[in-house]
């Protein structure tokens, strides 16, 4: 095994082009488990910890650009938590302080788990994913980036550079069902925005389908919205819960989220 440690984004992209098999590693909260348990032995790891351009976040023309190496702990701090409150709430439910100090938004995108906690809040805010390679960079809607369980639209030579969001500034929340508050993979989760400006309700569920997905409706359809979210989900039975339970929980979470956001 080889560890490649680029010191700039340009160097990282050149290495990824040269070694498309190199597995990117940032906070390590997913990749290290695979290594520690002998489940993966990649020929090369691409250590992104020294790439300054991926860290932190910035504002650009009313938009917020979240670097791929932005940690959950970063997303919980002001002023970012006030710009993207549902993402901050979701971040607070991730693992433990130790995990939140290391785990990154870029990692959540790259892993593309149906249970990725950052994904529903980003979906309801219409996030785009910025991916980069030596060929240039492109932005695509998060809903098009997520292709299936642990599958995304990255080409072999591409890396996740950022998530780009235009904060709606509208009431929003995130909720998650699990066996305890900390250290759980969501049985199911829900982010919701009550967007009075656009007259629209937007919800996105996690852990209730092959990918976290968006459901929207006119604000006037509030009464039917919980049912609509539950019906749109495509949950399965697995070790964390049954499909029927997940659908029921989504109905309850949507109702509670609506109460919270429309109060």
């Amino acid at each position: 095994m080889e560890v490649l440690t680029p010191r700039s984004l340009a160097e990282a992209l050149a290495l990824k082009a040269e070694r498309p098999d190199a597995v990117p590693i940032g906070g390590g909260t997913d990749v290290m488990v695979e290594l520690n348990f002998d489940r993966a032995r990649p020929d090369a790891l691409l250590n992104l910890n020294e790439v300054g351009e991926l860290k932190g976040w910035s504002r650009e023309d009313g938009r917020v650009r979240l670097g791929a190496a932005l940690t959950y702990a970063d997303a919980m701090r002001p002023p970012l938590c006030d710009l993207l409150p549902a993402l901050a709430e979701a971040s607070r439910t991730v693992g433990s302080p130790q995990i939140r100090n290391r785990g990154t938004i870029g990692g959540n995108l790259g892993t593309a788990s149906p249970a990725g906690d950052a994904l529903p809040p980003l979906l309801v805010e219409g996030a785009e994913v910025e991916v980069a390679s030596v060929r240039g960079s492109r932005r695509l809607p998060l809903s098009e980036f997520l292709l299936g369980p642990k599958r995304n639209a990255l080409a072999a030579d591409e890396l996740v550079a950022a998530a780009v969001v235009t904060p709606s500034g509208q009431p929003q929340t995130f909720m998650k069902v699990g066996t305890r508050n900390a250290m759980v993979i969501a049985v199911c989760s829900l982010a919701l925005v009550a967007d009075r400006e656009r007259g629209e309700l937007r919800a996105a569920y996690g852990s209730a389908g092959p990918v976290p997905a968006l459901v929207s409706a006119p604000l006037a359809d509030r009464e039917a919205f919980a049912e609509r979210v539950a019906a749109a989900a495509r949950p399965i039975d697995d070790l964390r819960g049954t499909a029927a339970y997940r659908r029921h929980a989504l109905r309850v979470l949507t109702e509670r989220a609506l109460e919270r956001c429309l109060a």
Binding site: G28, R41, L45, N47, N49, S96, P97, I99
Partner: protein
Amino acid sequence: MRIALVVNREPHEADVWEGESLLFALRERLGLPGSKNACEQGECGSCSVLLDGRLVCACLVLAVQADGHEVITVEGLGDGDQLHRVQEAFLEAGAVQCGFCTPGLVVATVDLLERVPQPSDDEIREALAGNLCRCTGYAKIFDAVRLAAGIQP
């Protein structure tokens, strides 16, 4: 490959296998067995250390990622024979049963009190949520955290 890092304020070098964790490097290459090896998936917190001042699970950091960085382990909290006040508080409160989780909980508590000198019970609960005590000695652990923070019961 060879890595160079500062552990407990002293420069160290270690020859590591590219795929190994910082935890393995600390325990097996640098002779610092204070950080405990249990779940190896970030669930139990018994390997908690400070990496560049931030609380992390050493099992989820690639040893190579610590190259050029600074690590504080439980061994580096005290001053010579003088225990850290959090360690003293754990002793005093009897917050130790089998002791396996203690180093991780001590490091996590030091991190908490650094950020929040007078934590509420909810803040203690959230800060220590990533550290499991399988003896379930949480009540005494809470006592120890409050004692270290100088919070009157």
